[in-house]
Assembly symmetry: C2
Homo-oligomer: 388 residues x 2
């Protein structure tokens, strides 16, 4: 099997990830912050160390400014629901995943907020020049994906602030598709929050994720979910210090222990090397794709300004058929259909058809790429009657 | 090490739990409901099978009426925030965990709801007879823990509906401390929702949990967190069918695969046998405790109407000292301090001191119990100067 659905969830993971999850479950993942026994303290240490790794990765001011959530979706909901107040206006883009669009639409339907969306060009790059027209006195936040889950397009989120008249507007980034592939930091990218998932580029298990946030944003937010934190236990009020303010209930300790191993793997390899490898594979792939007129790529046609998520359609095969054939005939796992980004499909002209998404991961090899290209070539030739 | 903090998180787990989590991570936990490839479909199957097991356990009408959340805290927040509307009144009790009290208090502080709390007797049993005085025309829900996390007291939640004038009030149970130890079902206990955690009595990994709900309650609720569901991908609106209505983002597939193994273990052993074992251990323990005047038990003094969570204080040792000594001198892991249930501590007279909580699990043995008793006896004798 050749796995090329890494934008959904990465696989394989470094062996240390599953080994550590296993050991954590075997040796006893205690309940961090609950009691002072060895098992509980061991778990607290796991959370603290992983927070430290994520703090460095995302340039958070303190480990406590890294909040664990079960998914990037939970992280984005916590950020939006915890920040936005009646009358607020939000700017986002047509390239967003439903994890951003649906919370915004839900808040709009309830009459709490209004929002406007930046458009995108034919490569899926958001039209930042539209920002000044969309900004209003009541604009409270801009929320944008760093990389499109559909087209792989890298968005210029670091340039958002300079386009805003009101520099106090909060800028939130959805780094679901970029964390672990590209640098993204609160400081370097001038952001107030970075929402991340553990199970994609960071190579951790599913059920991990969260967000890093600035102190400025924290001061403007209230908790959404509240409950036991193991702190201020005698109070009926949620503690207002980080990370407890946003972390109630038992954390996924074994998963977070595994996530730390994924992050360590990435740090040791370095984002530079990861990026260089991906660009090399991308260049080969794009070159080959350009020789297959049966296939239309929807997204950046060069390796710059993208990660290796490729959205494509076939002239004579619908996406489900193409994906089915890739899996059945060639053992290549890709994703077909709609990719939880309805307006991005509209912007890219694939709203009626859906698309095939092929996404490389950290462990995609040149051999696999050659097999993929050969498979696509065969599929196209069969379609043109050149093979039986 | 003798682990007696099972009310925080159970340990050990059946070997199949960690084995399955490991295998799931190794073999590829795909992204369920996203695409139709083998990896994604395999993960969908894991969720469906686990839903089926939980449906049976909690008597849900359909597997879809079981919703996965990362913790019982997330489940309780989703239930309360999804159900309650401005002006609603809620009845709960002083015996609740902060995972219920803090969301209620938070909603009250925001001016959305009001709530009243049932009191408790000296064994921590809620005073159901107070219900008629607390019920109001605007009462929308009663939310109660099935078993107290502090005292282990089993609450008569199955008798709530008969005490209510308005039979349409929704009854929600927090089964964090009972699921996997005692039967609790939507039908048998006349409930509208059961919130559960995976990592305690159900023997699954941390990061798993959720709720089972009736169709009637579902019809009255709206989603809280929204986002990608892999369904209705072209719509900006959260799907209104179960389980997608309440499940956005990637689930903790490996964790849920492990949870299924925990539930299977319990089903094979049977709740009857688990209960019988626990009652036998409890009777021995209570008998021995009654011979130690240094120790005051706060909770039911008989094995009936409780699970083996024991909250206690020492005449001459504070709880942290006692717990520290148990761990250092005898290798026994317990929890000391406050147990995220402030009003329960008040009701039990341990608000000033906190308590030591000793909680047995599925794998607590008679040998361990004997060692515990011996340790407590030694601790008490040392305190009275009868030993060096």
């Amino acid at each position: 099997m050749i796995y090329m659905d890494n934008a959904s969830t990465t696989w394989k993971k470094p062996p240390a990830v599953s080994d550590t999850v296993y050991r954590s479950l075997q040796e006893g993942a205690g309940n961090p912050g609950r009691g002072a026994n060895a098992v509980s303290l061991g778990s607290s240490g796991i959370l603290l160390r992983t927070r430290g790794l994520l703090m460095e990765l995302f340039q958070a001011p303190q480990p406590e400014n890294v909040i664990f959530k079960a998914s990037v979706t939970d992280a984005l909901n916590t950020l939006l629901l915890g920040l936005l107040k009646p009358g607020d206006h939000v700017i986002s883009s047509v390239m967003e995943h439903n994890s951003v669009l649906r919370p915004l639409e839900h808040l709009k339907q309830k009459g709490i907020i209004t929002y406007d969306l930046l458009g995108a060009d034919e490569e899926g790059r958001i039209l930042l020049q539209e920002l000044p027209q969309l900004e209003r006195p009541e604009t409270r936040a801009v929320i944008l994906s760093h990389v499109s889950n559909l087209t792989g397009t890298l968005q210029p989120i670091e340039k958002v602030r300079e386009k805003l008249k009101n520099k106090d507007i909060f800028i939130l980034a959805d780094a679901a598709q970029s964390a672990g592939y590209l640098p993204v930091g609160l400081i370097s990218h001038d952001l107030d929050a970075i929402a991340f998932t553990g199970h994609k580029g960071l190579l951790g298990p599913q059920g991990t994720g969260g967000f890093a946030l600035s102190d400025r944003l924290n001061a403007a937010m209230e908790p959404v979910f509240t409950g036991g934190t193991g702190s201020d236990s005698l109070s009926l009020h949620q503690p207002m210090f980080l990370p407890d303010k946003f972390e109630s209930g038992t954390q996924n300790v074994a998963g977070i222990a595994g996530l730390a191993e994924g992050i360590k793997y990435i740090k040791e390899l370095s984002l530079d090397i990861i990026r260089t490898n991906h660009q090399r594979l991308t260049e080969v792939f794009l070159q080959e794709l350009s020789t297959l007129p049966e296939i239309t790529l929807h997204g950046p046609a060069t390796s710059a300004g993208r990660v290796p998520n490729f959205s494509m359609t076939f002239a004579t095969l619908n996406p489900s058929e193409a994906a089915f054939r890739l899996e059945q005939d060639f053992g290549i796992i890709v994703r077909s259909g709609y990719h939880c980004a309805p307006l991005a499909h509209k912007a890219m002209g694939t709203f009626e058809t859906g698309s095939v998404r092929i996404s490389f991961g950290h462990f995609t090899t040149e051999t696999e790429l050659i097999q993929l290209i050969q498979a696509l070539r065969t599929l196209c030739e069969v379609q043109h009657g050149r093979l039986p």
